[in-house]
């Protein structure tokens, strides 16, 4: 024990770090900030620490080469002892880190912590969010599988839409004219050197600012922030009612960080690592690439936007969002901090949360994607074919063989790209069905060239049977009952 103290003293005589560290740890914080609401920042840092450690461990095995990466992930998953667990920790750690960063941001926003004098802390935080998202995207590319390969194509297609410099941005992003070995190398560089390095620098500055400016006090309704007297009031508060950061603030941080680490480990153990999916072989086109969880909302947005709005929203949307986040502390740097008197702030958060949640939920079903194998893999339920005439049965066959089922569901089975056809005969008369099938329209391709008259007749005969038993099929109002057109 004495020896340890002597070594400590010897080191500190030279480093002289003991006193400033003690001072930092003992600095007074407002009593009510030693709260469970103030643990998310440190938890995000803990998750980042876990990512650094597991990332270095993965780099021991991972080969950043387009020809080898996928195999090295298989080796990690199946051959290296507990390689799968380190991969799972890294994958789940990434999801947790992003989630905690978002929660931290929401808490900071609702507590008005971005207001004077903590504007710069917020701005650094916005960049930290961008970098965390950047880590998630580049990490998804490093899991060099089918999703990563086609995801790069999607990224390139989005980047190419930037006016004037678009093509140059694409080549810069891919490291050449096409997705290849150089592409993976540069995403490896981004994911392992550039972004983590910047993240560490920004995290350091972010934490330094929290210590220098002081943690945001618990917001009280009616206690307004004014540039003129805020600092004086804050320092009076910490002097008179403050408590030392260690142990008052730290123990809750430590407990929550431990819980988060445990939760990540539990998810890693229970759910295992993410992928990799199929080999990154572009010749294998039987694939439907999906982005990782935190980019699903974007996948939904890109499917649901009208084509004409897509490029403007993709290119201008992020710029506006970034500007709004960056100027927020200057636009509303004073005034009320408490969420109880900031209804618009609360509604904004709710609106964004509901929108992102809805898009994410939609994207996990992806009703806009055709079910590419429904025409061979999903039979028409028996109730739609039993008791039908031979012509109508032939129509059902045409429905399958011409891939109608890929986009149209019958009895909840099949694609949802187009409307379900369970009761189509109630909506459209026979003539209207013929016109719709042959000419298309309303987001449906025209089948005129690919159906012969016999097939069309059979298909429409089948479609005309699709109405509930108690509800008559649609009929042309200009015809007398029983009259044929």
């Amino acid at each position: 024990m004495r020896l340890i103290r002597e070594i400590g003293n010897w080191l500190d005589e030279r480093l002289q770090l003991g006193a400033p560290i003690r001072e930092t740890m003992q600095h007074p914080i407002p009593r009510d900030t030693a709260s469970w609401f103030y643990v998310f920042g440190s938890a995000a840092m803990t998750a980042f620490g876990l990512q650094l450690v597991t990332g270095i461990l993965l780099a021991l095995i991972y080969v950043p080469s387009a020809g080898e990466a996928w195999n090295s992930l298989q080796i990690l998953n199946h051959q290296v002892s507990l390689g799968w667990f380190i991969r799972a920790l890294h994958g789940w750690g990434s999801n947790f880190m992003l989630a905690i960063v978002l929660v931290h941001m929401v808490q900071v926003f609702l507590f008005g912590a971005y207001k004077f004098p903590r504007e710069l802390t917020w701005i650094l935080g916005v960049f930290l969010l961008l970098m965390t998202l950047g880590m998630a995207f580049t990490g998804q590319v490093l899991r060099f599988d089918q999703d990563a390969y086609w995801g790069l194509g999607i990224g390139a297609s989005i980047a190419s839409r930037v006016p004037i410099v678009g093509p140059a941005v694409v080549k810069l992003m891919l490291g050449g004219p096409i997705i290849a070995g150089a592409t993976l190398s540069r995403f490896f560089t981004l994911h392992v050197f550039v972004i983590p390095g910047s993240l560490m620098l920004f995290v350091g500055l972010h934490v330094l600012l929290v210590l220098k400016v002081g943690i945001n006090e618990w917001p009280m309704p009616g206690r307004l922030v004014r540039r003129a007297d805020y600092l004086e009031k804050y320092h009076t508060m910490t002097r008179t009612q403050g408590v030392p950061f260690l142990p008052y603030g730290v123990w809750k941080d430590a407990v929550f960080s431990g819980v988060i680490l445990l939760a990540i480990a539990a998810c890693a153990l229970y759910f295992g690592p993410f992928g990799p999916t199929g080999q990154p072989d572009p010749r294998v086109i039987q694939t439907a690439p999906r982005p990782d969880f935190f980019f699903l909302w974007l996948y939904a947005l890109l499917s649901l936007l009208p084509p004409s709005l897509e490029t403007p929203v993709l290119l201008i949307g992020p710029v506006i969002a970034l500007i709004v986040l960056l100027v927020l502390p200057f636009f509303s740097g004073e005034g009320e901090k408490s969420w109880k008197r900031r209804p618009i702030a609360v509604l904004t958060i709710l609106l964004i949360a509901v929108a992102l949640g809805t898009f994410t939920n939609l994207a996990s079903h992806a009703p806009w994607s055709p079910v590419m194998d429904a025409w061979t893999g999903a039979p028409i339920p028996a109730k739609f074919v039993s008791g039908r005439t031979p012509l109508q049965i032939h129509g059902a066959l045409v429905f399958q063989s011409k891939q109608c089922h890929n986009c149209h569901a019958l009895g909840e089975i099949g694609g949802k790209r187009g409307p379900a056809l369970d009761a189509v005969a109630v909506r459209l008369t026979g003539d209207q069905l013929v016109r719709q099938v042959l000419q298309g329209g309303g987001n449906m391709p025209a089948y005129g060239k690919n159906l012969n008259p016999a097939e069309t007749t059979a298909l429409v005969a089948f479609l005309e049977t699709l109405h509930p038993s108690g509800q008559a099929a649609a009929r042309d109002a200009f015809l007398r009952p029983g009259e044929q057109p």
Partner: protein, 182 residues
């Protein structure tokens, strides 16, 4: 001139000197970083590549073919072989479509029964001649220019075709109604 202001002048000269050295070093560094963009004019980015004998592509049918990235490196692995759809219209008139959907680049699949290309991502669909049928794409499938040399089908390719302004390849492509180049 006092000693202090003398030293300050030296410091300024030192800073200027370092600035000049920095600029000198920055020139090769920036050129290195931008080489994927500036190399675009050089040979290899767009080359005539063989898809094999035209006998593999029966008249009236659309088949998947593969070409090799003209600037392939050893580390590219499987990514060096890139697929495309070849439609033999008739009498050596071809259309060669990029595999990438014109919306966001996902791989489109050909369904001969319904004569449609369908995209699994956002549901874009194209007719057999590559023109847009439905869904989010704003245009038809990208086409590669082609020619026939010694009984082999060649296409001009090597660049990822994206919906941005770079990808107006089919503006210079012969469409199926024009006579073939060879």
């Amino acid at each position: 001139m006092s000693d202090l202001s003398r030293r300050q002048m030296f410091l300024k000269i030192a800073a200027l000197f370092n600035g000049a050295v920095g600029v000198l070093l920055a020139i090769p560094i920036v050129r290195y970083v931008l080489s994927p963009v500036t190399g675009a004019g050089k040979s290899g980015y767009e080359s005539w590549l063989s898809l094999g004998s035209i006998d593999q592509f029966p008249s009236g049918e659309t088949r998947l073919a593969t070409y090799r990235n003209p600037v392939a490196q050893a580390s590219d692995g499987e990514t060096a072989d890139i697929p495309c759809w070849v439609r033999h219209v008739d009498n050596n008139r071809f259309q060669v479509f990029a595999i990438n959907c014109a919306h966001l680049g996902c791989p489109v699949r050909w369904f001969p029964q319904s004569g449609l290309f369908m995209c699994p991502c956002h549901g874009g669909a194209y007719y057999s001649d590559g023109s847009r049928a439905s869904g989010p794409p704003e245009r038809g499938l990208f086409e590669y220019p082609f020619k026939i040399l010694d009984g082999k089908l060649h296409i001009q390719a090597g660049e990822l075709l994206t919906p941005g302004p770079s990808a107006r390849v089919d503006d210079k492509t012969p469409d199926s109604t024009r006579p073939p180049c060879a």
